[in-house]
């Protein structure tokens, strides 16, 4: 394993079993993350994005079966005891969730919750922790931080709550921030403010970030590289700008070409037919095959291996990569 990566995920799979039903939510995914790098994880709801993030943090419930390896520098995280694993959460990797209203405790003030995160990892007197919490709230640009620190979550707007959550996540200066759809519940203007803040903080603190989103349009302004996920598997991986400009996998291509921004008005808008497969009945072949325009007999029987495309890019598709439509530019 090269020394340069901060996080290396090798053949990570997550399976949930309930009685006779077994669902493979994440299917042997592989990727590496360098320190200070921002990776966007893109896909539809139910494709396993959030489960991947929770598996990296070790926050999945006991009934989830996790196989594969997650390396943090040289340490293998899945081999650690729960207590050892706990020391990694918050201090080295932290997470910001989608719904800021439900991730904050309604009976504590914003400042107390940020201070709690600080005190959990560093022994500090209450008052000092509070002073640091206020400094953190200032860093995430909460106006009148000293005053807002004494507000309860219900007194804050959605954007402010997300900032408080971000302050709590940054409390122990993590090296990796996992942001799971952090702006989905927010308005476009507030979304833009939070995204700008995230990218500035990430640069300033040289923090790596895994940014999970279903909206492809958020990727170019934030991410260095992107991973596209479909039905539990990674289907395409590479530099964000290159993947969006000329997607190689038919699914990525469909995501880009059906995006409202690229529609040409008038005629019916381009659409992607079909639905993602039922997770309890996954086939041996390519999960995208039933919806794919370029489907070949080989797609039905064999899960396509990643096909390298140079510049650290790959796509898990045999037919389109080999065929003529390799990486045709779709974005001007």
């Amino acid at each position: 394993m090269p020394v340069s990566s901060l996080l290396a995920v090798e053949d990570l799979s997550v399976r949930f079993t309930a009685g006779a039903v077994s669902i493979e939510a994440v299917r042997s995914i592989n990727f590496r993350l360098a320190p200070g790098e921002c990776l966007a994880l893109v896909g539809e709801s139910g494709c396993g994005k959030s489960v991947t993030a929770l598996a990296l943090l070790g926050l999945l419930p006991d009934y989830a079966t996790i196989t594969g390896k997650v390396f943090w520098r040289e340490r293998e995280l899945n081999a650690l005891s729960p207590d050892e694993r706990r020391a990694y959460r918050g201090r080295r990797m932290a997470m910001v969730f989608q719904e800021p209203a439900s991730s904050l405790n309604p009976v504590y003030t914003a400042g107390e919750q940020v201070a709690e995160a600080i005190r959990l990892h560093r022994r500090l007197p209450r008052r000092e922790a509070m002073a640091q919490a206020i400094a953190l709230l200032e860093e995430v640009r909460v106006p009148d931080a000293a005053q807002k620190a004494h507000s309860y979550p219900h007194q804050l707007s959605g954007g402010m709550r997300q900032r408080v959550l971000l302050a709590a996540a940054l409390a122990c200066e993590p090296e990796l921030l996992l942001a799971d759809e952090p702006t989905t519940a927010l308005d476009v203007t507030v979304q833009k403010q939070i995204l700008d803040l995230l990218s500035q903080l990430q640069r300033k603190r040289r923090m790596a970030m895994i940014f999970i989103t279903h909206d492809l349009a958020l990727v170019p302004q934030l991410a260095d590289r992107m991973a596209v996920m479909y039905a539990g598997s990674l289907v395409e991986f590479g530099p964000a700008a290159a993947v969006i400009a000329a997607p190689a996998h038919p699914y990525t291509r469909a995501l880009v070409t059906t995006h409202p921004e690229l529609w040409v008005g008038g005629e019916p808008l381009p659409e992607l037919p079909g639905l993602p497969p039922d997770p309890s009945q996954r086939s041996e072949g390519c999960p995208f095959a039933p919806r794919c325009q370029h489907v070949q007999p080989v797609c039905q029987t064999r899960f396509p291996p990643p096909v390298p495309l140079g510049e650290g890019r790959w796509a898990a598709c045999l037919t389109s990569v080999a065929g003529s439509l390799v990486r045709r530019r779709v974005v001007p």
Binding site: V188, Q191, D196, P220, I244, H259, V331, P332
Partner: protein, 341 residues
């Protein structure tokens, strides 16, 4: 009078001038504020403060703005789900605000609302067929037997007629939104008001629902008011865009290549919209300062003034008027208009 607002006033066929099918004039919705003990002043809030809009048959108008700016209240006021405190809502020539009882019920059918959340807008205890049957029974003029009509409606929205035996929880989000559209179509409306019809759905499903909405709109020559926060979508599917901020329309513009938004708020919304084509970190200078103020603490003049980067002393004096900036283009900002002209 049983078919008031249905066929009778429905079309402007034959006449050379297309009359607007939906006319909203100076519409105001006022919610009474809480009276505090020993406090004299009662603070009312006005989520819709004098909005005027017109929709021609077959026309799509996009209504955009941040959450809490009164978009959904306007939609609800148009279909009569919240009481209107002043102004006129005319659908096919009939003023809905003056009607009561049975006449209102009949007239209301000509405007149908499609809600944002298809999980919350269908009765979980009714089978899909029953939901649509209830809507069909509202109009007493159907010639086909209901069973066939239900199947025809489901077919029209791209669902298998067998879906009528399903309960909403057995359907996906996209399918539920299709059922909601079928239910709206059951009463042959003249106007469709769609309140964020796609924001609860996955991206590929959004496109399909939008295609369906446009298809049924064209087939029935309906007018559509599309409420959304997605500016890309508005530019692609609407004829006109109305931008709303704190109860007021701040800009009304046609969607063409030449016309660019002028009001600082519209420009901010456009700048904030995420773009696939952006390279690296975007331009942040257009972003408005802070967040939307509360309706309880409205600024005295222009509602956008406290967040505006072009703020001048006149902005704080009185609410600016909607003034013409070009053909069919109205802007409520004297400062930008001065520069523009």
């Amino acid at each position: 009078m049983s078919d008031l607002g249905g066929r009778l006033f429905g079309s402007a066929e034959g006449s050379t001038v297309t009359l607007p099918v939906l006319e909203v004039q100076e519409l105001e919705v006022r919610f009474p504020g809480r009276t505090r003990w020993l406090r004299e002043r009662r603070m009312d809030i006005r989520p819709v403060a004098g909005v005027s809009l017109e929709l021609a048959p077959g026309e799509t108008v996009g209504l955009v703005g941040e959450s809490g700016c009164g978009k959904s209240t306007l939609a609800r006021a148009i279909v009569g789900l919240v009481p209107v405190s002043a102004g006129v809502v005319r659908v096919g020539g009939v003023d809905l605000t003056t009607l009561r009882g049975g006449d209102l019920q009949c007239a209301r059918r000509s405007v149908q609302l499609i809600f944002q959340d298809p999980y919350g807008s269908l009765n979980p205890r009714l089978r899909v067929g029953t939901t649509i049957w209830e809507a069909l029974n509202l109009r007493k003029t159907n010639s086909l037997p209901n069973r066939e009509k239900i199947a025809a409606l489901l077919f029209e929205v791209g669902l298998d007629p067998e879906v009528r035996y399903c309960f909403p929880h057995q359907l996906s989000g996209g399918q539920r939104q299709r059922v909601a559209i079928a239910r709206a179509l059951a009463v042959d409306p003249l106007v469709l008001v769609a309140d964020e019809p796609t924001s609860a759905l996955d991206v590929p499903v959004q496109t399909r629902i939008l295609n369906l909405l446009r298809e049924v709109q064209m087939r029935h020559d309906m007018a559509m008011l599309l409420i959304t926060h997605d500016l890309h979508l508005v530019r692609k599917v609407c004829h006109k865009v109305a931008v709303m901020y704190l109860g007021h329309l701040v800009e009304l513009m046609p969607v063409t290549e030449q016309v660019q938004p002028l009001h600082p708020y519209s420009r901010a919304l456009a700048a904030a919209a995420p773009s696939l084509l952006s390279h690296g970190r975007g331009e942040t200078s257009e972003l408005p300062l802070g967040e939307v103020p509360s309706f309880l603490k409205l600024p005295p003049g222009c509602p956008f003034a406290p967040r505006c980067k072009l703020r001048k002393p006149i902005c704080d004096k009185a609410l600016p008027l909607l003034a013409e900036a070009g053909e069919d283009h109205l802007v409520r900002c004297p400062v930008t208009l001065q520069v523009h002209n």
